[in-house]
């Protein structure tokens, strides 16, 4: 059974080796080369794909929890959703969570993921005290900001290329409710969207859904959702609302017309105002639909996510949104977010500025469009998010990540480059 990633593209044959214990893993590492760890396959492109996959999902034990400090120790295959199932009823939540809870701790560290509170709390690594990782020679080392600090900063955001994360110590945060008080603001153009972000900057969580097909005076109109945890003491588990997409949609079903209709409807339906919603509705609306990635059909899809520095964001975004609207290539989801300061990790994606993420069906002509967008992103000093990427060329990638040579050097010195690589790492030569 070959494994794919979330975008269902590319579909390549691979050999999957399931985790059976530290000794087994060390033996596997000594006998093979070109391996890549795989968590729950929620990265969109080829970050976790290769010929030999080290499948870590069933390495999923909780080890300890300190209810004074909120420090949880667990194995790297534990899903964020499992942590929420166990700890929300006890009044704890993840400090940082991406827009899906179906990712592993290993994947969260390796992509140094971020969420709607990046402008306040930063990336996932902010809640990581330390982790244990198996290196290219099968040794297990402890990494923190004090111990093996280089390995810590290379591994957070290091896309599985610095060894196999085995377990981690992460801090949870106290909550007094599973609910979020959410404010929705509807804006009419890009200027208003930026103003809304500034206005709601004090809110711990914020994100905007942009209508990418709106043109002219409506360019950049959005629904901004901002919020914070309620204080109502309600910690009861959420009802299970899962729905299935039973098969791959025929790929013609998602044409420009249907996307445009969807976008217009979604925008029209959005109402200004305040509402109380539970954490699943606020943080993970897409998780309610199993396999929603199948609506893009058998050919799969990709997500283009870039970030631009703050002072160049408005101009750059305006240009890029125009290009996309003119191309008519649809995107169901286009998510805009204001980010806080960059951290010290060598390959972490976030920097202070605005990031846009859009989904595209894989089709003829798409990559040409994306190469054009790349050029704008680089012109304005931005970069591309590896965990969503499936096609970025080496030169484009490099220009966005100034610490890349340090990362390459560490891989060379520790022998990691001879043991661990993904389709992506070979493409961008890291």
């Amino acid at each position: 059974m070959s494994l794919y990633s979330w975008g269902n593209y590319p579909r390549i044959e691979n050999r999957v080796i399931r985790y059976t214990g530290e000794r087994g893993l060390a033996e596997t590492i000594s006998k093979n080369s070109q391996m890549i760890p795989y968590g729950n396959g929620r990265s969109y492109g080829d970050s976790a794909l290769g010929d030999t996959i080290l499948h870590m999902r069933n390495h999923d034990l909780f080890i300890s929890f300190d209810d004074q400090t909120g420090l949880l120790r667990c194995k790297s295959g534990v899903l964020l959703s499992e942590i929420l199932d166990v700890f929300v009823p006890r009044g704890w939540f993840l400090k940082i969570t991406p827009g899906t809870k179906l990712i592993t701790i290993g994947g969260a560290i390796a992509s140094d993921v971020h969420g709607k509170n990046h402008h306040v709390e930063g990336c996932f690594s902010e809640c990581v005290l330390s982790f244990r990782i198996m290196t290219a020679d099968g040794d297990i080392i402890n990494c923190s900001r004090e111990e093996n600090a280089d390995m810590f900063h290379a591994t957070c955001g290091g896309m599985g290329l610095t060894g196999v994360i085995l377990e981690a110590d992460i801090y949870l945060k106290k909550i007094n409710s599973k609910n979020i008080v959410q404010t929705t603001v509807k804006t009419s153009d890009l200027k208003a969207t930026f103003d809304a972000f500034s206005e709601y900057k004090h809110m711990p969580y914020s994100v905007a859904w942009i209508d990418c097909l709106a043109k002219g005076s409506k360019l950049g109109r959005c629904l901004l959702m901002a919020g914070d945890f309620a204080d109502d003491g309600d910690l009861t588990p959420n009802a299970d609302r899962k729905k299935d997409i039973p098969f791959n949609f025929p790929s013609f079903s998602l044409n420009n017309l249907s996307v445009s209709a969807f976008n217009t409807l979604y925008y029209a339906k959005g109402k200004n105002g305040v509402a109380k919603v539970d954490y699943d509705q606020f943080f993970y609306p897409l998780d309610a639909i199993n396999n929603w990635n199948r609506i893009y059909g058998r050919n799969g899809f990709t997500q283009y996510q870039f970030i631009l520095p703050l002072d160049a964001s408005y101009e750059g975004l305006e240009k890029i949104l125009k290009k996309i609207a003119d191309s008519g290539k649809g995107s169901f989801l286009a998510v805009l977010k204001l980010y806080g300061k960059a951290n010290e990790n060598w390959l972490s994606f976030p920097m202070e500025g605005y990031s846009l993420a859009l989904d595209f069906k894989i089709e003829h002509g798409l990559f040409d469009l994306l190469y054009k967008l790349d050029r704008i992103v680089l012109d304005y000093g931005g970069r591309i998010y590896l965990t969503k990427d499936v096609r970025v060329p080496e030169k484009t990638f490099e220009q966005g990540y100034p610490m890349i040579d340090k990362f390459r050097e560490l891989r060379e010195q520790t022998g990691m480059n001879r043991k661990f690589s993904s389709l992506q790492s070979r493409r961008v030569n890291i």
Partner: protein
């Protein structure tokens, strides 16, 4: 709180079953060989569900030890779930009886020995339940694994008889027939994705069928139809197939 005794507790499937029952408030007796290896699993149950998990050293083929093992459990378990099994190697088992013997004792004789003890206890208590993990392989003998298959067939029929016997005592007996499951047993095999269940799915199926008082379940559910068809292929045709 009441205890569930799980036989073969280290398997991926048992781990998943243990979690589901612990999440519904049960404490656990985890029976297997080399219980020292259970330490991390026991901590996991404690951190996740604040439930107790007690290791019980047991070799399912060492039937002479079973009475003492069951006798020592205090309190007695409310339910017993037998997950132990051994696929073995069919080709070896054809030539070397010791392999065939091990397959039969792990999948049939051993579980019968432990479940007899539990059944007698529950019958006299007039309460409790027994769940046995058998296999679709027991629904029809095939050349690729009929030693394992026949042992599972025996186990399925044992559970059927036991269900019949314990009905009047109010003891629920449920037979579980998984198709393909993605576990250590099938690691490296090229299984069809659509017919292969994850251990957590099997565990959820077991819990939900058990709460509804079901007798025999297939998991994934589509295996019921597949096995219905396979069981109905006439023998003169079936003997020529390689499925």
């Amino acid at each position: 709180m009441s205890y569930i005794l799980i036989l073969g507790a280290k398997s991926d499937m048992a781990k998943a079953v243990a979690r589901v029952y612990a999440s519904h408030g049960y404490d656990l007796y985890l029976a297997c060989r080399n219980t020292a290896e259970l330490d991390e699993q026991i901590k996991d149950i404690d951190v996740r569900y604040s439930r107790k998990a007690v290791p019980v050293e047991m070799d399912i083929t060492a039937t002479e030890t079973h009475a003492a093992i069951y006798g020592a459990l205090d309190p007695k378990p409310e339910g017993v779930i037998s997950v132990v099994g051994y696929l073995g190697d069919q080709k070896t088992a054809e030539k070397d009886f010791s392999e065939a013997d091990r397959i039969m004792r792990t999948n049939y004789a051993g579980p019968v020995s432990m479940l007899n003890l539990a059944a007698n206890d529950m019958e006299s208590r007039k309460s409790g339940f027994i769940i046995g993990i058998s296999s679709v392989a027991g629904d029809r003998g095939r050349k690729s694994n009929y030693i394992y298959g026949s042992a599972k067939a025996g186990f399925s029929e044992y559970l059927s008889g036991l269900r019949n016997r314990l009905f009047t005592a109010g003891v629920h007996v449920m037979t579980v027939k998984p198709g393909f499951v993605d576990t250590k047993m099938t690691a490296g095999m090229d299984l069809p994705k659509k017919l292969t269940a994850q251990p957590s799915e099997v565990a959820e199926d077991i819990y939900s069928a058990w709460s509804k008082g079901k007798n025999v379940i297939y998991t994934k559910k589509r295996w019921r139809l597949i096995m219905l068809i396979i069981r109905h292929i006439p023998e003169f045709m079936f003997k020529k197939t390689s499925i």
